[in-house]
């Protein structure tokens, strides 16, 4: 397939298509695309007229060259990415996307330079609900699960909530966050160590599997110890978790054991992101269903679920 000149690329919308309601198909442009650590990149996309969106929601990015006939090269199906931040100015909107350059799609994405077009579909999914009666937020995240929590921290801070983040990674060089110069990370102390959270006044407790940064521990274990030391806050706190499934599961179990409202942001392999392909299923409790459970879709029923409804097996 021949490649068109960039100026002619209009994959944002086909002739006669309409963008209405809360989601749409957009042709964005790359503002920045830079490595953050060993595997993670931060991509900033600018989009015009992006619909209202909230932390927990995601976009489906076409990791391939949009062209006159549709798309070509790169990956075939879109890849879902949590929105890691959103800034608006007039019609223009900037989206922050954090991703790991691992497969065909994300490696293609990592090669895109400033000004290049990227097709974005969204915003998709249901966002985090911020509990009205819980003034403290505990954000528990690991690795590529951090982006929705970064945006959530900004939103919570703007809403006047107090938040503490628990951030984990395999090791220091896999932590997809920007260090604040001169701030030391010692053990399990909450400190304003990372720009993404420090900029909105949210301290972070850091853990790595190998102890190369912060505590040498799993995030849920660090979180459990913190909880024991701050038992008095349990009745006024809510948990928001996103990361690898074992981390989320362990965090959910801690939250459920203490009766703390716990929202988990899940990830599944998906094709459409719009509820049609039915691939991204999550098992949830349903007393009325056969065997007491049924599938719900991560893309449209989630990706944020109440930890109580998920079947943790």
């Amino acid at each position: 397939m021949e490649r068109m000149e960039k100026d002619d690329v209009v994959t944002g919308a086909a002739p006669g298509s309409q963008v209405s309601g809360s989601r749409g198909l957009f042709l964005s442009r790359v503002v920045r695309n830079e490595p953050l650590c060993r595997e993670h990149f931060r991509l900033v996309l600018e989009v015009d007229d992006f619909p209202p969106a909230a932390p927990g929601q995601f976009v489906q990015i076409l990791c391939a060259e949009p062209n006159e006939l549709g798309w070509t090269q790169g990956a075939f199906i879109r890849r879902p990415f949590s929105i890691g931040g959103l800034r608006r100015g007039g019609r223009r909107c900037e989206l922050d996307i954090l991703y790991r350059a691992l497969g065909t799609g994300t490696r293609w994405l990592s090669r895109q330079r400033k000004g290049e077009p990227v097709s974005v579909l969204g915003p998709l999914g249901r966002p985090f609900e911020i509990h009205a009666d819980r003034e403290i937020a505990w954000l528990v995240g690991g690795g590529i699960g951090l982006p929705p929590l970064i945006w959530l921290a900004q939103t919570l801070s703007a809403a006047g909530r107090r938040a503490v983040a628990f951030c984990g990674a395999r090791s220091a060089d896999f932590m997809p966050l920007t260090r604040v110069a001169g701030v030391e990370i010692v053990g399990e102390q909450p400190v304003l160590a990372f720009e993404e959270f420090a900029s909105v006044g949210v301290p972070v407790i850091t853990a790595t599997d190998d102890g190369s940064l912060g505590a040498a521990a799993r995030v849920p274990d660090v979180f459990a110890r913190y909880l024991d030391q701050h038992a008095g806050q349990i009745s006024s706190a809510a948990i928001y978790a996103c990361g690898p499934e074992p981390m989320i599961r362990a965090t959910a179990q801690i939250g459920l054991a203490h009766g703390i409202p716990t929202a988990v942001c899940l990830e599944r392999v998906m094709a459409c992101g719009m509820g049609t392909c039915q691939s991204c299923v999550v098992r949830v409790h349903d007393a009325a269903a056969e065997e007491g459970w049924r599938y719900r879709l991560c893309c449209t029923d989630g990706p944020v679920f109440d930890a109580r409804e998920v079947v943790w097996d």
Binding site: T11, A13, A14, P15, G16, S17, Q18, V19, S20, G21, S22, R23, G24, L25, L62, L69, G70, W71, A75, F76, I77, R78, T104, S119, L121, R268, V269, M270, A271, C272, M274, G275, T276, C277, Q278, S279, C280, V281, E290, R294, Y295
Partner: protein
């Protein structure tokens, strides 16, 4: 503005309408079952009324949870899926989904699946009298349920199924969706047509497999899945051509061609090979506006080739002019 007027004048001159049995569609671009939900999922992206017809996800008598995840995986030029006919079941379909479909303003074709002839009869007999149902498409070719392939691969079993369903389908257009996972697709096509099908849709997905080499396990929980996307387009095109020549053309039965269509050029290929209409499936996942793109390109193509009706394209394939001289 001037350009817009010119475009609408051109549109008025070109006839995009096609007939599938008794059903007239305003254009030949349809959605494919299993890739567009039950109705309004893509409404935010396009005016669904611009489609020729809308085809629903499979409906079975009883609700089905579907297969365990992982249900899909991308492969070179396509994807494998093993959803397992997850659907809300006949009762909830009629109560909750059909009202949405009836408001779409586009003919709705309901895809029907089952394990036995009685299953198909139950769904078809219930849906046929309903005004909201313009067509019934028999899914005899789902590769992802344990006995889903019997009707699709055995011409005798298929003949019996279509004959019995034909007896209860009096209003809706009866479409049989063929499986490509057979030795001779003209045999199942002939069987469907001889037993009373009004139309054939082809093809369903090809059975495929993907393996995680590090874990030494199948990627899909179901072990195998159905391959769709541009990877299967040449295969689908060949099967449409074969069935058109051997069965559909002599019998005067229309074909809805599908398999990896991404753009107008792909659609034109299917029409030239013998399809009367085309289905857009997996491409909807990537760009829900693909049908509109295809329509715009198709109209432009007809204009460039001085054709008044899209129906002139069906089976228009010419012999290859670059043949080496004989001898």
């Amino acid at each position: 503005m001037l350009q817009a007027m010119n475009e609408s004048q051109v549109a008025a001159q070109i006839d995009l309408s096609v007939r599938l049995g008794r059903l007239t569609l305003k254009n030949p671009v349809l959605t494919v079952s299993g890739t567009c939900g039950y109705g309004d999922e893509y409404a935010p992206f396009m005016d669904l009324r611009r489609l020729g017809a809308f085809t629903t996800k499979s409906v079975t008598v009883k609700e089905r949870k579907g297969n365990a995840p992982q249900r899909i995986v991308e492969t070179a030029g396509g994807m494998l899926n093993a959803i397992g006919l997850a659907n809300v079941g006949l009762d909830r379909f009629v109560a909750e989904k059909l009202p949405v479909l009836s408001r779409l303003g586009v003919p709705a074709i309901v895809n029907v699946a089952g394990h036995s002839i009685d299953d198909y009869l139950a769904v078809c007999a219930r849906l046929d009298p309903l005004d909201a149902v313009a067509g019934l498409e028999l899914n005899v070719s789902c590769p992802n349920v344990c006995d889903g392939l019997i009707f699709g691969t055995d011409p005798k079993a298929l003949a019996e199924l279509v004959k019995q369903v034909r007896a209860v389908v009096k209003r809706a257009v009866l479409i049989v969706k063929l499986s490509p996972n057979v030795t001779d697709i003209t045999a199942t096509a002939r069987s469907a047509v001889d037993s009373g099908a009004d139309c054939l849709s082809m093809i369903n997905t090809f059975v495929g497999m993907a393996i995680n080499v590090e874990r030494q396990e199948p990627v899909l929980a179901n072990l195998t899945g159905g391959l769709s996307g541009p990877a299967i387009k040449p295969l689908a095109l060949n099967l449409v051509y074969k069935v058109y020549q051997a069965v559909a053309k002599p019998a005067g039965i229309p074909i809805i061609g599908m398999g990896g269509i991404q753009n107008w050029r792909d659609a034109v290929e299917f029409l030239l090979a013998g399809a009367t209409a085309v289905g857009i499936g997996t491409a909807l996942f990537i760009d829900p506006t693909t049908p509109l793109r295809v329509l715009a390109g198709l109209e432009d193509y007809l204009r460039r080739h001085n054709l008044k009706s899209v129906r002139e394209l069906t089976g228009r394939l010419r012999p290859n002019r670059n043949e080496p001289p004989a001898g």
